[in-house]
Symmetry: C2
Subunit: 185 residues, 2 copies
DNA sequence: AATCTAATTTGATATTCATCGAATTAGATT
DNA sequence: AATCTAATTCGATGAATATCAAATTAGATT
C-alpha cells in the first residue's frame, strides 16, 4: 500500500518528468517531439514515459509512425487529492512497530529477573518503563499503598519514587487521603 | 520555481520519510524515538528530518534533552492542494524551448541557401517545415497562384505539392475558383 | 566544574537511477 | 518483399543519495 505512494512520488521527483507532464497538459506529443523539446535522447524520454505510464499518469495512442502520449488529467486530479488522506498516512505506518521504542528501553533497563538495573533519568525512558510497570496492576482494581509498594518492589527498592512518578505521569491515580490507588485507563 | 516542486517530491519519495510523516501525524516524536520505531540509526533519522524541515513539513521544539519534531499540517495541506495547479504545471515548462522540435527539423531539412534538401515524408516533420515556410507570406495579404508558386520555388521545385499541403494543414487558405491565396492566422 | 545524553555533522560505502549509444522491435511506405 | 522510421529495450556509466559509524556539538544533570 505504502509502496504505491512512494512509487508515485519517486516518479514525480524528476525535473524532466515534471516537464513532460507540463507539456502534455498543453497538448499530446510524440516521443520524438518530447525528446527535441527537452533536449534529450528518445530512449531517455521513452524511459521516463514508461515510468509515468506505470503509475497511470500518461497513456499512448499509436498514430501511423508515432506513439503519441497524452496526459490522463483525471488520474492526476484524483491522485493529487488523495495523496495525504488519512488513509494514506495510516497505511504508511502500517508496518511500523509502535512499541519498538518502549521495547528498546525495556531491553536496556530490565534485568532477566524482571527488576530494573536503574531507574532511567531521562523523561521519555522513564515513561516507557512506567508504561511497562503499570501492566502489573489490574485495571479497575483498588490497591492499598502497601499493596502498591509490594508490587513495585519487584522492580526497584525505591518504591516511593516509582509510585510518585506513576501518579505524576497519570498512569495511576490516588484517592484523597484514603490511601487508595488504582490504574488509570 | 519548478526546482522547488521537484525538491518537494524528492523529499517525499522515500519510504522512511513517509513513515515519519505518518507517525508525526499521530503525535510528536523525538529523534531517538523515531529511530527506534523505524529501526534506523539516529543519525539517519536526523538526516531525514532535516530534509523534511527544509521543505517546511516538520519543525522541532527543544524539550530538555530532546528535539521533539512535529508535523506542520497546515503546510502539508496547502502544498498538497496546489501541487498540480495550473501555475505549477506552467512553471515546470517555463524553460522549455517550445520551438526546439521545429528547429531541429529545419536544421535537418533546410540547406544553407534556404532551400529544402527533400520534402519530409513524415507528417510531423512536414508540418514543422510548412510552419517554417508559411512565414514567407505576410498575414492579411492576398497572393495569386503565380506569386505563391514563385515564393515556394525558393524551397522546392514541387511547388504544387507544397501549396496543397499548406492548404491541407490549414496554414493557407484559398478563395473558391478565383485563384486568391492568403495566410491563415 | 565535570560528566552525561541526544542530536547533528562528517566521511565512507553501497545502491539507485538518469542518461546515452547500440541493438532490437513494430509498423508503415514504396 | 524490401526498406524506412519511431519507439523500445539493453548494457554501461556517472551522479545522487540512503545508511551507518565516528567525531563533534549543544544542553542538562550531578
Amino acid at each position: 500500500m505504502s509502496e504505491e505512494l512512494v512509487a508515485f512520488f519517486k516518479v514525480l521527483s524528476d525535473a524532466n518528468r515534471l516537464k513532460i507532464i507540463g507539456l502534455l497538459a498543453q497538448q499530446p506529443y510524440s516521443v520524438e517531439e518530447l525528446a527535441a523539446l527537452l533536449n534529450l535522447k528518445a530512449s531517455t524520454v521513452s524511459h521516463h514515459l514508461s515510468k509515468l505510464a506505470k503509475v497511470g499518469l500518461v497513456s499512448a495512442k499509436t498514430e501511423s509512425y508515432y506513439n503519441v502520449y497524452q496526459l490522463d488529467e483525471k488520474a492526476l486530479e484524483i491522485k493529487s487529492k488523495s495523496l495525504f488522506s488519512q488513509e494514506n498516512l495510516a497505511s504508511s505506518v502500517a508496518n511500523v512497530d509502535v512499541d519498538a521504542y518502549d521495547n528498546k528501553v525495556i531491553k536496556d533497563y530490565v534485568k532477566k529477573d524482571g527488576s530494573l538495573k536503574t531507574i532511567p533519568a531521562q523523561r521519555k525512558k522513564l515513561e516507557a518503563i512506567l508504561r511497562y510497570i503499570i501492566k502489573s496492576f489490574k485495571a479497575g482494581k483498588k490497591y492499598t499503598e502497601k499493596q502498591v509498594n509490594e508490587i513495585l518492589s519487584q522492580y526497584h527498592e525505591d518504591t516511593a519514587y516509582l509510585r510518585r512518578e506513576l501518579i505524576g505521569y497519570k498512569l495511576m491515580k490516588r484517592e484523597g487521603g484514603g490511601g487508595e490507588y488504582w490504574r488509570e485507563e
